[in-house]
Structures are given as C-alpha cells and as structure tokens.
Amino acid sequence: MLKRAMSRRALLREAVATAALVAAPTAWAQQKEEPEILYGTTGGIVEEVQRKTIFDPFTAATGIKVVSVPYPKLAKVEAMVSTDTVDLDFWEIGATDIGILGRRNLLEPIDYSALRSGLKDDLITNGALQYGVGTIVWGAGIVYSATEFKEGSHPRSWADVWDVSKFPGPRALPDPSYYVGPIEAALVADGVPVDKLYPLDVDRAFASLDKIKPHVAKFWSTSPEGLNLMTSGNAVVGMNTLGRIIVMKQQGQDPGINIEFNQAMAKISYWGMPKKAPHPKNFHRLLDYYLEPKNHAAFLNAYPAYGLTVKSAQQYMDPKTAASRINSPEHLASLIMINDDWWMEQDSSGRSNFEKVNERWASWVSQ
Amino acid sequence: MKSAVPARQAGSLELRSLRKSYGGVVAVDDVSLSVRAGEFLTLLGPSGSGKSTTLMMIAGFVQPEAGSILLDNTDLVGIPTHKRSIGVVFQNYALFPHMSVAQNIGFPLRMRDMEEADTRDHIARATALVRLHGLEERYARQLSGGQQQRVALARALVFQPPLLLLDEPLGALDRMLREQMKHELRRVHQELGTTLIYVTHDQDEALVLSDRIAIMKNGRVEQIAPPREIYERPVNQFVAGFMGESNFLGGRVVGEHGGTATVKIGELLLQGVPSSGIRADQDVEVFIRPEKIVFTAPGDEKGWAGTVKDLIYSGDSIRYVISLGSAQVIVKQTVRQGVYLPARGDAVSLSWDPLDIILFPS
C-alpha cells in the first residue's frame, strides 16, 4: 500500500542513488580535514539536547567539534555553493527541500558505504535518500483548548474538527505553504481513508475546505503563529506541531492546550550535506555515531517529541515517553505519513503540485 | 477725499488694573489707561518694561492675571483672539510664506467668508491704500522689507478692525524707509481714523505720530499725555530723563515761598523756580532741557559763569559741554546767523528762564 503511494519518480531516485553508490568512489574519501563539523541550526532547546546526548559524547570519542552556524535558507545554500563559500557541513531539511536542492545538484550524495552496514534496511521507509538520511520524525496533529473542551469529550478526528455543531468555536489551520498542510486534513475529514490519501484529490479537498472556511479564525503560516492563535483565545481547536506543545508541558509551562494523536501527520526530517561542504568525512562519522541505535535512542529519550528513524533503536526507547512519541507503536496505526513525492511531482510545464495547490489556495482563500 | 476703507465708528479701549507676571517677574503691573476712539497712542519705555506684554494681552495671546480690557465697553478677557477683531502688525511682519500678497491680505476676509467680489474689492482698496499695486501675485520672499511691512499693514487693516496694534513695526527697516513709512502710517491713520496703539523705541516716531504717549517702566505707566506735555512737563525724573536730552543738577531747596523756591546747587544760587510739591530743606534734582539754556555776553552779572569743555557738532545744532565748577551742563545751541558760538576753552556765561526748570525730589 505504501509502495503504491510512492511515485515513479521516487523509485527512479532510489535507483539512481544505488547506482551512484556503486559507480563513483566518493571524491572526498582521501582528503584531510580539520577536526570540526559545521552544523546549520536555529539553536534553542533541540540543539541543547543534541549537544548533551550526541555531540558532546561524539567530540569526547573522536576529538571532532560540532560548531553551530546559522540555519541557511535554500537560496543561501545555492549562493554558497555557486560562489565556493560553503560555510556548512550539514543541516536538517525536509524531503521537499532535498528534492529541490538535489535536482539543482546542490547536495552531496550520502556515502552509505561509509556508514555501518545494514543501516539502510534499519531505517524506516523513505529514511535513506540519495541526498539525505532521515534522523527524526516529527508531526502535526489536532490541538484543542484545554479550557474549552474536557479531555475525553474533545475532538478526536479531523471529522470532529470539521464538525462545528458538536465542537463549536473558531479554528486555527495552517495554509498549504506550511510543511504539513490542510489538504490532507480536509480529505480525511471528508471521509477519505488514511491509507488511500495519495494521490491527493485536490478538488475534493477544496470542497471540504469550503465547509470549514467560515469557521477558521485564520490560516496560519508558521507554527508559533498558530499556537499564538490558540493561547490568545482566537481559536479553540485546530492543527499544530505536536512537539512544541509536548516540550512546553515538559518544561513546566502551561500553554492551556491539549493534543490528540489520532490521525496525526508525520514527516521525516533529514540531515543533508551541501556540495563542497568542508568536512564531509567528519559528517559521515557523526552520522554513523548518531544512527547507532543506542545513541539514537539516547537523544530521542531526552527529547520525546520526536520519533525514531532507526528501527532497531526501539528496544532502547524509554516506555514512559511512548505516549508522547509521534510514531511510537501505539500511534502508528492512525498515523498519516506525508508523501513529499506527491507534493514535488511536476507537470509538463515544470510546476509542482506544491506550487499549483498554493496558487489555487491564494485565489480560493481571498474569495 | 473718500477714505479707502471706511473706518468703524467705535474703537475706544480701556485697560483697568491690568496685571501679568511670568514666574517671579512682574511684566505688567496694575496698568490702567483709556484710549479714545480714533486716537493714536504710543507706548514708549525701556526694554523689558512690559510694552509687548500689554499689547499681547489686548490681542489675546496672553491672559491677564487680573484686571479687565474693555473695547467699546465690552470686556475682552477670556475671549479668544480670533473673535476680538483687533488688527495686529508684528515686528517681523509674520507674513504667510505660502500665500501670495493678495492671499495674505485676503486672509481675514476669507475668515469672515466674504463674497468673492467684495473680497476682490477690499483687497484692491487696501493695496491702493498702502501703495502696493502690481505686487499682488508675489510671495513674501520676493518682497523688500518695506513692501513686506506694507503688506502686513494692509492685511491688518483690510477687515476694518476698530483697533490696530503695532509692535515696533518699523524696527527692521533702514532709516530712509522708516522715515517714509512713518509718514505713510500717519496718512493711513488720518484717512481711516482707526484707533491705534503703537510700540516703538524711537522717540522721534512717538513725537511725530502720537496723539498721546504712555511712558512705561517696570510694568507700570509712568505718565500718559500728549507729546508736548510729556516733553515739557514730565511728571518725574524717569520720564524727564527718558524723553529727549536733559540736564540734572543735584541741589537743595533753601527757601520756599508761594509756589516758588530758591535752590542751591553747590556754590550757585537759583531763584524763582516753580516748586509744586517741594518743601524747604529738601534735596532735589534740578531739571532743565539743553535747548532752554542760552549764552549771554561774557561777564554778565546775572548769568552763571562756566567754561566750554567740549563741543559736538550735529548739523542743525551744536551741543556744548559746560563746566560750572563742581557741576556740568549741556547747552544746545541752534546754528543760525548772528548767534554767539563760543569755542573750546572759552569762558561763557549762561542764562535761562526759571519757569523752564522743574524740580524733582531726590
């Protein structure tokens, strides 16, 4: 079933990746490197946990330091590569970004031969791409006001979110320029089974969105914006990144918002390396270290909002955090895995579904 | 001749116990005076004596602390400036830079929503009155100082205010232009008959233009009277010293009888001086104008003997500085054929009419 959802293009890409692996011995294999790695990051809590659980032990073991550099926009990556001023070894990106950058030859392929053997099979589906290795799974799902709805009698599905008579009050949904969109939610709310979503029926999705639109306070475009809609009382139910709320509660903040894992949407984040990155060898050593099941689990146990990408790490996972982990076995059944391949698919004029949906959205939303 | 803009009949002003202070400084202190309709009153006084403040209270820029301002028997205190209808000409003219001459002059008419045709008519007559033909479309920057002054005057007159206030309007002009504008102002006043209150530092202006002059000092009016009276019969030493030139000699009244006194100045004795309000044995200042003193033939018994220490020539007259032993006086002598004009170092004898002398208590 997942196989069928995967596009021809993705299969092709897998094939190319394998071919490249066999054919070209990596150019950087012999080069000498300073003992450091440049990590593009926005800083904050995630990086703190990463440092404690991965980078610091890694540095202790290898002597290679992980240096933070600003998280780059895609345009900056292209500018860096084309002017030979790459100040970055790796950063966390989504599959769509990998698609765009890879197509323009701005990413260095991952050398799976430099990583532990059997890793590719140990990664979850779509976890091992030519230009990126899946390192975490994150998700967005239903969020609702804790004061407005009691736990137990709260919206439990997208159909509930669409049901304004049963769950009255304004909604806060993302617009489709965000990583995970309202299109999938609209289709599920309209009765499309979770496993038969792709290829998305865009017409049906907009028809479903027509119904909820009058009750949407605002279609937001960044996750904190959506959260702010909820905490300020402008919306009582909607969609948002679940990890953010989990972390807030863990830190002892009270956002006044609860989450529902049923029909949550998940995406894989990857570590990618730009072309001409200064420390490719060091990066692969770090990657290998991090994808070691024990190390992978150490990070995820310390940051329970993210899900694993290394299947064998499951045995080391802290059972106490299973409830808050997006792709833990108990949530897996109703999880919607976002299919980035569909979004990146281009028509004959070179426009992707992502572009087309956003253009259609812009005229739909302002009507 | 028909006057350009017919004046309103009324325009009498009365100030009653007007008072204003800034912080600790009393700027105007208990000023009372009344101005007849059509009168030309000049306020004269040293810098800081409260002239402008008085004017500002009349115009309504400044609220008095006490007292009242009656224009045609209506109290103006508390009435905003724009409802008072009092014309004001400012020292810097305050012409609106973004309006042409015609627009400047037409502004007060516009404020009164006068009809187009009437407005044009009034502007034309006002420009004629101050002789500004042909400059109607110019802007203030394109005018000379005198022309700007005329625009300011026309603008303040065009709406026929019963009362016109002018605060040193000629201050910024050169001497020639001042002279010319002085006569212009006099002519306009005579043509219109508007009540005028005028502030100046120039005594000539005050004497030439005014029906009456008010001398101010430290926020008070010292004397208010026609020019001639101010000049010839000053009520106190300040007024006497402020207006024109004067000689003051310190002396002592040694005898007083029936309105005349005998005064001793050093060694010299002066008899038959009018002595209203002066007692015997009182220290006094003896006041006499330099032009009231004449030279008599040298050796004249009755005259006072002195020596010419210095002389200053100023065209129509010569001022002599004469030393009289311990005292010193100035004598002003008109230059005319047949008049005795001594030289420096000459011994001279002086004489005067005792009636020209005024005694002020020291």
Partner: protein
Amino acid sequence: MPKLRGPDTVNRAAVMLLTGPLLFLLCFFYVPLIQTLWMSFWIDGVFTFSNYERALSSALYLNAFVWTFELALFTTILSLVVGYPVAYVMATGGSRLRLFILICIIMPFWTSALVRTFAWVAILGREGIVNSSLMYLSIVSRPMSLVFNRIGVFIGTVHVMLPYMVLCLYSSMHGIDRSLVRAAETLGAGRMRSFFLIYVPQTAPGIISGSLLVFIVSLGFFVTPAVLGGNQSPSVVVLVERHMGVMLNWPMAATLSSLLLAATLLLFAVFNRYVRAGHAAPEGQGGEAIRLYTLIAKLDQGWRPVRALWRRFSPNPLRRRRRSARSQPRLATLMAALIATITAFPILLIVLMAFFPSPSSAIRLGNFSLRWFALYFTRDEWISSTLTSFQVALVTAALASTIALVTALGLRRLPPAVRTTLVSINLTPMIVPAVAYGVSAYFLFAQIGLIGTRISLVLGHTILAIPPTVLVMVAAVQSIDNRLEDAAASLGASPWRRLRHIILPLLAPMTAASALIAFLTSFDDLAIALFLTSSKAKTLPKQLYDSMLNDSDPRVFAASAVLVGLTIAALVIMHLLRSRSMSERG
C-alpha cells in the same frame, strides 16, 4: 575673482560631493542587484520574457501587486493622520513630553516582527483586552473583529511606521515660526482654521518626505500583514520570498522584484509630474507648501455654508468666552500621549510576560520568575547577537547618516529635475524586496571575500538605510534658508567654513534623527541578515527569529525586555545629562 554661486562652482561642488555616495550605491547595490534581476530573463539558459508574461497574466500575481500598493498607500495615509499630532506635540511640547513620546514610538523596534504581531493578535483578538473591556463595560455584546482583517493589518503596520513618519514631520515642524499662527488668529482664524490653513501647509515638505518614506518601507512588509491580516492574497515580497527561499525559482523572484521596482518608479514619476512640479515658488523653495495650502483652502471653502449656519444661530461671539483657555491641556497633547501609550502597550505586555514562566500564567502574579532573563544572560548566542546588532547598527548609523548628509548637500542647489532623478536613485534600495537584495549582496560579498564578516552586514544595512536617511536629509537641507549661507558668505566665510559653522550646525538635529532612523533600520533588519549572518556575526533579529520558530518558551520576551530597559535608561540618562548641563550653563 571667485564667483559666489556661479553655475560652474555649483556643479563642481555637487560632483565632488555626490561622487562618493553614488559610487557606493553603484558598487554595493546596483551592480549586484542588476546581476540578480538579469536572471528574470533566463529560463534554463534561454533568454525569454515568459516569466513576465506569466506574472502579468496570473490573477495571483496581479492581486499581489494590487494588495501591496494598497497596503503601502493606506499605511501611509494612516501613519500621516496618526503621526501628525504626535509630531506636533513633540515639536511644540516640553522636553520631557518629547522624551516620553520618543521612547514610546521606537519601542516596536526592540522586538521581532513576529513577537510584536503576536502581541497584537492577543490584544485585539476575540478574548483580547480591547474586546474584554468593551464587553465588560457593555459597550458591545459580541467581540468585535479587530484583527485578521484590514483593521488589524493597518494597526500593525502603522505601529511600526510611526517613528519614520513622526521624525520626518518633526523635522519640518521644528523651524516653523509660531508668530504666523498668532497672526492668523488676530485676523480672525479660529484654532482649527489657523492650524489647517497656516500651520499644516508649512509642514508640506515633511508630509511629502514622510509619506514617501513610509510608502517605500511599507512595500516591504512581510510578517505583519500575513499575521494580522485575514484571508487576503499574499503581498509581492511574500511571493518573492517563496520563490527564492522555498522553491529556488530565482527567475520568477527576480521578475517580481523588477516589476515591483518598475511600478514604484513609475508611480513616483507620476507623483512628481502632477503633485510636485510646476509651482511658481520663488527659488524653488516652498512650492509644496503653496500647493498644499491651495488644496486645503479649497476644502475650507466647502465649509462655508456650515459656518454661515453656525454664525446665524450662535450667540454674539463676544459673549462666548473661554476662561483660562491656554492653561487647559491641549487636545493634541492628549491625542499624542494616547497614541504613544498605545504604541508602547504591546511591547510593555511582552516585557511583562518575560517575568512569567508561561504566557498564559501572566495573570497569576504568584508565578513571577526570572528564569528567561537568566537564560538570556547566560547564553552566549543571545549576548553576542545583541552586541553584534548594536555594533552593526551603530556603524551603519554613522556611515548612512554621513552618506545621506553628503548626498543631500550635493543635491542642494541642483536643478529640481536632476535632483528628483538622483533622489529616486537613492530610494531604490528600499523598493527592491530585501530578500532579492540579500541574495545579490551575498554574491557580491562572496566575490570580494567579505562573507561572514560584520563589515558585510554593515555595508548591506547601509544600503538599506540610505533611502530613509537621504529622504530625511534632503528635506532638512531644503528647509535651510539660502539667505543664511549668503549672509555668512558676505561676512567673509569660505564655502568650507560656511558649511562648518552655518550649515552643519543647522542640520545637526536632523542628522541625529537620520542616524536614529538608520540605526533602527539596521537593528530591525531580518531579510538581509538571513543571508549575511554567519557563526561569527549573527544579529539579534535573526536570533529572535530563530528562537521564535524554534523554542516554545518566551525567552524572546526576555530579550525584548532587556532592550526596552536599556533604551529607556540610555535616553533618560541622556536627557538628564543635557538638562543638567543646560542648567549649569544658565
């Protein structure tokens, strides 16, 4: 014998002064920008106009252009209306009031656009303080829609544009002769009419430069309309950013940028042709005032019937007296104080929230905590980015205000047509979407080896700050009375000494204002920082942005609180020192 002001001397001086600034613009702005815009004609190595065809035929893009200009236009008009009383009170009120207003109106710059718009959402929203108070007072029965529509957008945009508008207006009010208003009153003009017919026209240069400035800055609004607006089409910069940052479609981003630039320049040309040109003002000075007066006078004329009625039914004017009219607080003062307070309010809310463990617990005062401040002061990323931002903004302020001063002096006595063209050349950096310039600048600095340095940030920010500072300085220089300089020349002062002893002292207050604008422009920039920051030089807005997107805690509030505190302290100390030295002198 040297001529005092012959055409040759003027041109030579102008060329000398203008060469430096224009070369700066050429090297650091036009060359890299044109390289980027040139991409708009290429698709897969083929020269084509198809991007333009697509942009001009798609409803999405056309709507974006319409909305962008509408946003800029209304923001400009509203900023003018709101900013005017504020500037007026700053120009006429006491120095303490001026300080208070200044502190309030620059507050929005001490936090990131995301944070301040979120605060507005909370304030104006369904359960926000405005609606709750109105409902508590039973003024309304249901919450009003104050946000997620045009109202919200314009509250948000005017909030940020206020300092730009106010500083321009203030510069033109500074030198107005108060006796003109008095004169008007003696001629029968009431307060309203003397204000509108006499005072306002004199401020025409400030109104024009302020409006121009706010207009071009508003073209670049990105976050504010997106967060506070309802379901409207995205603005042009949002699309440029999406094409460049998300889809790597450079040609389309370049196409949209070029179109925005072209449309704006066209608009300026029309504006200059019909609004500014053709006045009969002497020496080219004061033309704007005359035009504005003509306009207002026409409106005033329209009120005649109303006034006639009023006169008919109102009692004898000499009966209606106002006791102690001048001592009561003026309406304008109240308005300005209110506007300033409203401007500061969202930021004060943010400051307040920094003291609580989570935003929603701010109501329970028992939860008071300093943990976010501790985070701010112990994390190197916060301290160093704050310091970097201050360094970069200070150097930018010095550089940009110098360039603007020199440019304005160079433009001073040039013919109006030449001047207008050169001013447009100086305004362009703000019309081009900042992301487009950010990318261009990256390529440039990469070629000359400045990538990752603070110098590159300074240069980039200086380019951004040139338009506002040049606008302010050109207006300031134009308002100098030429006669003063001629007078100095007649007293034997050489051109250099005239500049040093007459012109520069007269321009000092506005040079300071332009430096402040440059400082704020640099301090608030995110678009360029996204491209030019490196591990060695990260600015605070970038750090705030990262933290906002990344951390789910209010440490950004603590950062804003620190900045607000620092600013207030700095300004108050400056004020005290100045008034102390004044009182010592006299």
